[in-house]
């Protein structure tokens, strides 16, 4: 630790820090345009100049390049320093008369006009010369830190500028946008470095409606609520450079060298709660999902409504305007012979919620096109009544198609929902600005693999099968494996929470009991008859049979035996038998089945 004085304050700083860093740590502001915690000090802009007294010597030094020393006395706002800064401000203003950042900085110093001649012969290259202060941050970042090297300095003196090799659009540029985000004067025009509009990394949580960075927190309620690094877009994994995030992390919690680990856990119970996925509206092209920008899926719309979503909770069309009219189409994919035969249970209620929110936030005309309104939970019917009273138009008739082909001047530019209004007995065309598809629920992606891994049966729609629809809704056929939530069947939050509690309780009972209940149908091998032929061992998927070379017989470990009887069915000498499913019993059943009628 080093002790120095800044502006009369005694500061203790770690050896190796610069005066700029030490001052910043102590809360003393020194203006700078060209320094950044991830970049090595350059001393280009000179704004951070301070007056240093050390061992009787006074000098003016850039604080960004000056290491702290014991006993140093630093003045950041002495008369001399301020005078120099004002001159620098005038120089900057002359170079970049248009830049608001420079003008603001100059204004803070009390400088409003420059005595120097403004730079007029701007040589147009990659970077807007009227903003560039030649601080070199973009170059240092792109080259040293990110190791991409698409930008560099060219020329000397008055001709010095930032450009790409041969001043041609760069193939090396990755359109990461780091240069423009670090540029203190916002002078960089991306398209001149690489003439492709950068594509945002689509945020999975926001359904691509907004972008995210390679390092991001997946969603606000993520558990644990820590950022993750997406290896496919993180620059470190492309160039070996960057790692600016590590520089910024005070807790030193980032480690790019982390590898995926496959861990094996030995457990006695499992709760399967793999959830659902929304039916893809693209499976029904007549509704225009994916073709018309303003046809939204239910989950996309949820994000639009959400205060933390891409629009801050404002309901806007893709053109950025609040809609004047919205159609909400119920039962997309559900109750449909060609897609999901079942009712997905939650969609009517969320459709009502959407209707209510649209009305509340935009006052738009709202049309709900439904087959039946299913509002069977606690308070649900009351909510439905309330929405009915909010001037939402309910049309009984599943929408037939969504089109943008206008048949009249009023329809131009809008989405037209064609439907049969069965209560009026008319086919109607309803022109709206926005369509929301209330799609049904399907099992989550990859549910079949989960089912195979846990030997789960599936019921209609491929949801996981409970042991009994009435009496055992959270158990599965396999002991110790429980189901919770939408993976077992479409259900809303209250029901999911209840089922989750039930599954957890069932798992706890199993773990707490301290005893294990065996199937009464396990297999056993009669050592008097067993010849040790070992043919049964390959039949057992639970490795419950082993050969005893001392006794020259095969033996069933009854705790592992699940009672399938496959070994018994394949025993060539009849030495293996199954409790309650003996051969003699089955032969008797066969005789009985074939007894004369």
């Amino acid at each position: 630790m080093v002790t120095l004085t800044i502006d009369g304050k005694a500061i203790a700083a770690e050896a190796g820090l610069t005066v700029l860093q030490a001052a910043s740590d102590a809360g003393i502001h020194i203006p700078t345009l060209c320094s950044h915690e991830s970049l090595s000090p350059y001393g280009a802009c000179r704004f951070c100049m301070v007056e240093v007294s050390q061992r009787g010597r006074h000098r003016l030094v850039t604080s960004c390049t000056l290491p702290v020393a014991e006993g140093m006395d630093v003045q950041t706002r002495s008369e001399r320093v301020l005078r120099i800064r004002r001159v620098l401000a005038e120089l900057m203003l002359a170079r970049c008369p248009e830049s608001t950042v420079i003008r603001d900085l100059a204004g803070e110093l009390g400088v409003t006009a420059s005595r120097m001649r403004p730079l007029t012969d701007v040589v147009s290259t990659i970077v807007s010369q009227s903003g560039c202060i030649l601080c070199g941050m973009c170059v240092r970042l792109c080259d040293d830190v990110l190791k991409i090297g698409a930008l560099a300095f060219e020329g000397r003196g008055a001709r010095r500028r930032v450009t790409t090799p041969f001043r041609q659009p760069s193939d090396a540029c990755l359109t990461c946008g780091a240069c423009s985000s670090i540029c203190p004067t916002h002078a960089i025009e991306h398209l001149r470095i690489r003439p492709h509009a950068p594509r945002p990394i689509p945020s999975e949580f926001e359904y691509g409606m907004t972008g995210r960075k390679p390092i991001y927190i997946p969603f606000p309620q993520a558990v644990p609520r820590v950022p993750v690094i997406d290896q496919s877009t993180c620059l470190y994994f492309k160039t070996g450079g960057c790692k600016v995030c590590e520089d910024n992390c005070g807790a030193r919690a980032i480690d790019h060298a982390q590898q995926d680990q496959i861990r094996q856990l030995q457990v006695g119970t499992a709760v399967i709660a793999t959830g659902f996925s929304l039916f893809d509206g693209g499976q029904m092209p007549r509704y225009g999902y994916g073709r018309y920008k303003n046809v939204f899926s239910a989950l996309e719309f949820e994000r639009l409504c959400h205060a933390g979503g891409p629009t801050g909770g404002r309901i806007l069309t893709r053109e950025g305007e609040p809609p004047a009219s919205v159609a909400i189409l119920h039962c997309i994919g559900s109750r449909d012979e060609n897609h999901l035969r079942y009712c997905s249970r939650v969609c009517c209620m969320y459709s009502l919620k959407f209707a209510h929110l649209v009305k509340e936030k935009t006052g738009a005309e709202v049309y709900n096109l439904y087959i039946d309104v299913r509002a069977s939970g606690k308070g649900y019917e009351e909510f439905y009544k309330r929405v009915l009273g909010e001037d939402v138009q309910f049309i009984r008739g599943k929408a037939a198609e969504v089109t943008d082909v206008a048949e009249s001047p009023e329809e131009r530019g809008k989405l037209i929902v064609v439907c049969e209004d069965t209560l009026l007995g008319l086919v109607r065309r309803i022109a709206v600005d926005m369509v929301i598809l209330s799609s049904g629920l399907r099992p989550a992606e990859g549910a079949e693999k989960v089912a195979q891994a846990f030997a789960l049966s599936c019921s209609r729609g491929e949801f996981f099968l409970e042991r009994h629809p009435k009496l055992a809704p959270v158990d599965t056929a396999s002991d110790g494996i429980f189901l919770a939530g939408a993976c077992q069947g479409p259900k809303d939050i209250p029901d999911s929470v209840a089922q989750g509690g039930a599954a957890a309780a069932a798992a706890l009972v199993l773990m707490d009991r301290g005893r294990f209940v065996l199937e009464p149908v396990t297999a056993e091998i009669n050592a008097e008859l067993c010849a040790g032929c070992k043919m049964c061992i390959a039949n057992c998927p639970y490795t419950a049979i082993r050969y005893d070379p001392e006794q020259k017989v095969s033996v069933v470990t009854v705790e592992l035996c699940k009672g399938c009887g496959t070994c018994v069915g394949g025993c060539p000498s009849g030495a293996a038998r199954q409790d309650n499913f003996e051969d003699v019993q089955i032969f008797a059943e066969i005789k009985g089945a074939l007894a004369p009628a």
Binding site: E528, L529, C530, A531, G532, C533, K534, M535, C536, I537, A538, N539, R546, Y547, P549, K552, G569, G570, C571, P572, S573, G574, A575, D583
Partner: protein, 325 residues
């Protein structure tokens, strides 16, 4: 009282069981010292009327080999049953139907036509088939009738014991004779051989892994077997797991897989079906097509798995053809 009387008779058989008795070698002299052989068509010149003259139950034991298909065989075995205290079904044919039992795969009609009409070395312009009665030179000649199915011995008469094997090994014959003569016998109806399957005593069982996986079964005619490794593990069909032991593994030690001549272990009702079930556990297959391919690699499952036991099996042979409607 005299020495106990012993009879040997053969039905549909190859004569190998008689050879097995002869294989007692010099011990046969002890046998003839201890017993009085009253019937042995292959070796001694006793006639039917000699047996008919005996009071019932006077033959201590009749050893009957061969399967039953002819009316004459039925008459003889019934006669011997009446005249004997004990009847031993001697050899695979009497025990299970044996090799002659393979005739149950076809029909009597087919057999006769193949033999008397279609065979290339037969000249039969009048298309004569065997008749039970015919007249020649004023005499009436009789031939036994051939029944439609081959039967093991215990389906026509009551059998006391079974000596399995094709033929039964000499040591089993000797110990059976010993037991009968000394009156120390297991319960009636027993098979005079150990209850466990062959693998228990097989010299190659140690080389057999716990899990075997075969994608194609091999045939002895086209490949060479390693004499030191379990045949099943090599991909050959060996009936050992579904066959009673007691034979001394004569075939195994001769680098031949077991063919099942001792019949199934006591709890297995149908040797072929039991073996088939066990063999399926060795398939290297995941799909329906794979399973079919492995199954198809065994050229003659019925003939292989029921080689000695077809008449004794639950279906006992080919199902009868549909009657003309």
């Amino acid at each position: 009282m005299g020495k106990p009387k012993v009879a040997f008779y053969w039905c549909a058989s190859c004569g190998g069981c008689e050879e097995a008795v002869v294989d007692l070698h010099e011990k046969i002299l002890d046998v003839v010292q201890a017993v009085d052989i009253v019937l042995w068509p292959v070796a001694l010149d006793f006639k039917r009327k000699d047996i008919e003259a005996l009071p019932p139950g006077t033959i201590a034991v009749s050893f009957i080999n061969g399967a039953v298909r002819l009316s004459e065989q039925l008459e003889w075995v019934r006669l011997l049953r009446e005249r004997s205290g004990l009847v031993v079904a001697f050899g695979s044919c009497a025990h299970l139907g044996g090799i002659p039992g393979l005739a149950n795969y076809t029909t009597r009609k087919q057999i006769f036509e193949n033999k008397y009409l279609r065979s290339v070395s037969v000249d039969n312009p009048d298309r004569l088939l065997p008749q039970t009665r015919t007249e020649v030179n004023g005499y009436e000649l009789h031939l036994p009738e051939v029944w439609p199915v081959v039967k093991p011995l215990d389906e026509v008469i009551d059998v006391d014991y079974y000596l399995p094997g094709c033929p039964p090994p000499v040591n089993l014959i000797a110990s059976a004779l010993q037991g009968i003569l000394s009156g120390q016998l297991p319960p009636k109806g027993s098979v005079l051989a150990p209850a466990k399957a062959l693998c228990e005593s097989c010299p190659l069982n140690d080389s057999k892994p716990e899990k075997m996986s075969v994608s194609q079964f091999k045939r002895l005619a086209t490949t060479s077997a390693d004499p030191k490794t379990c045949f099943l593990a090599q991909g050959y069909v060996c009936m050992g797991p579904a066959t009673r032991s007691g034979c001394g593994e004569r075939c195994i030690r001769g680098n031949m897989p077991c063919r099942g001549c001792f019949g199934p272990p006591p709890q297995a009702l149908d040797q072929g079906a039991k073996f088939l079930g066990a063999l399926a556990s060795m398939f290297d297959s995941r799909t329906e097509a794979d399973a079919q391919a492995v199954a198809d690699s065994i050229a003659d499952p019925a003939g292989t798995f029921y080689r000695f036991s077809l008449p004794k099996s639950l279906l006992s042979g080919r199902s009868a053809p549909q009657p003309e409607s």
